[in-house]
């Protein structure tokens, strides 16, 4: 499943980034004779993993690896993930960057459809990665996919959940304000009181279990 999250609003940032990547890719000796470079990036919580899928090296031949700079690729992708975040809706965990020698490049974004993984050889998210991802980019309960809820229930884990009324994320009986780039880590958490304002979990629990 491909979603856009907040990408359209960041089209200039995306275009500028792709232009920079195009320059770096096709200035590299390693892609002589190739007109396309594709890189997969997975950013889950605070961890990044990337690898090139096109061009592939030929056995016994020269390396086809493009040495992108950190600023052009990793830092740009990290910033793009934050800019794409929509409070309550989340952001992407995986993108494919398509670069072409004579055309504008494009970014294809993916949301993990389930815990088994859906792209190249990238494994699906583990339960812990889901918690980290939701803590860093909180979603409302209904925007957390069913397969994630299944993993949390099996592990008896409560995930962070975005509360749209208070514009905060609630987790471990605490609240933290959420900005359009994720939780505000400079601000302290506040403890959720049992009353007068019920936490979002009380409402979910009532809806699911009638208690």
């Amino acid at each position: 499943m491909v979603k856009n999250y907040g990408m359209q609003a960041e089209s200039e940032f995306v275009k500028e980034g792709l232009r920079q990547l195009q320059q770096e890719a096709f200035a590299s000796d390693t892609v002589q004779g190739h007109d396309e470079v594709v890189v997969v990036l997975s950013i889950r919580g605070s961890t990044l993993h990337r690898y090139q899928t096109i061009p592939q090296p030929v056995p016994g031949g020269p390396s086809a690896h493009v040495p992108f700079s950190d600023a052009a690729l990793d830092s740009w992708a990290d910033e793009l993930k934050k800019r794409s975040y929509i409070p309550g809706a989340g952001t992407w965990t995986m993108i494919k960057v398509h670069l072409y020698r004579n055309e504008e490049g494009r970014v294809e974004i993916f949301e993990d459809d389930d815990s088994t993984g859906n792209i190249e050889s990238e494994p699906g998210l583990s339960m812990e990665e889901c918690l980290l991802e939701l803590a860093a980019f909180p979603r409302t309960a209904d925007r957390i996919p069913a397969w994630m809820w299944k993993m949390f229930n099996e592990a008896d884990a409560q995930p962070p959940v975005y509360n749209p009324e208070l514009q905060c994320v609630e987790w471990k009986n605490k609240r933290r304000t959420v900005t359009d780039r994720g939780p505000d880590l400079s601000a302290p958490t506040t403890v959720i009181q049992a009353s007068p304002q019920p936490g979002v979990f009380t409402k979910i629990s009532k809806k699911l279990f009638g208690t």
């Binding site: 993993h49 030929v58 690896h65 990793d74 583990s126 812990e128 990665e129």
Partner: protein, 215 residues
């Protein structure tokens, strides 16, 4: 290597290079072992690059380039690895303790490349590494799919399988540190590795306590 009188053999790799002011900018040397540690690598100098030759199994040599930052801390380590090193002659617990102190509680002196692949045990190759990233100890700061130690083990397994099947190893390894707000403590560690001309795998691992710890 040096003889008993301290005179370097003309075939030695040990050399110092200086800039026009006479300041040392590069040192070529051998990695030490227990009982014979390299004094240069145990007391690395700021803004100096160390090219290191490490003797490993099968009479082979692995080579590493360590770049020290302006404070004498490890900024990056690159390696070309051709074989493993069985045993712990290249591990230095004392230097690891010293390196870990920079990070405080919950931090170890981590190696920028695996000891099992002949990386140095001296201070120059160590950095304060989150203990869970170093050896899965203590509270996690990421998920297991995002763990430096587990990534190392996968690569070491790849090296061993190539040796067992008679293939050349030809492993490239690059680690670089990104700063954090705490001087001397990397906020993240980037690892890039590849075999021969195969696709490079690039990871960035969190080296700080996860913000979830203080949630």
């Amino acid at each position: 290597m040096k003889d008993e009188a301290g005179v370097a053999d003309k075939n030695t790799v040990e050399k110092y290079y200086t800039d026009v002011t006479g300041t040392v900018t590069r040192v070529d040397t051998y990695a030490g072992v227990k009982g014979a540690w390299s004094p240069e690598l145990n007391k690395p100098v700021a803004s100096v690059t160390y090219n290191v030759v490490a003797q490993v199994d099968g009479g082979m040599q692995n080579t590493f380039t360590l770049v020290m930052d302006s404070k004498g801390q490890l900024a990056s380590a690159k390696g070309h690895i051709t074989s493993t090193l069985v045993g712990d002659m290249n591990r230095n617990g004392y230097q690891q303790l010293k390196a870990g102190r920079l990070g405080g509680a919950g931090y170890d002196g981590g190696h920028a490349a695996p000891s099992a692949l002949g990386f140095i045990g001296e201070r120059g190759g160590l950095f304060p590494q989150h203990a869970w990233q170093n050896r899965l100890a203590g509270a996690p700061n990421a998920s297991k799919a995002s763990n430096f130690h587990l990534a190392e083990l996968k690569v070491i397994a790849g090296v061993k399988s190539r040796i067992e099947s008679g293939q050349p190893v030809d492993l490239g390894w690059e680690v670089s540190m990104s700063p954090s707000a705490t001087p001397g403590l990397p906020g993240s560690v980037k690892l890039e590795h590849w075999f021969g001309n195969e696709n490079h795998q690039i990871y960035k691992f969190n080296n700080l306590r996860d913000f979830m710890d203080e949630w």
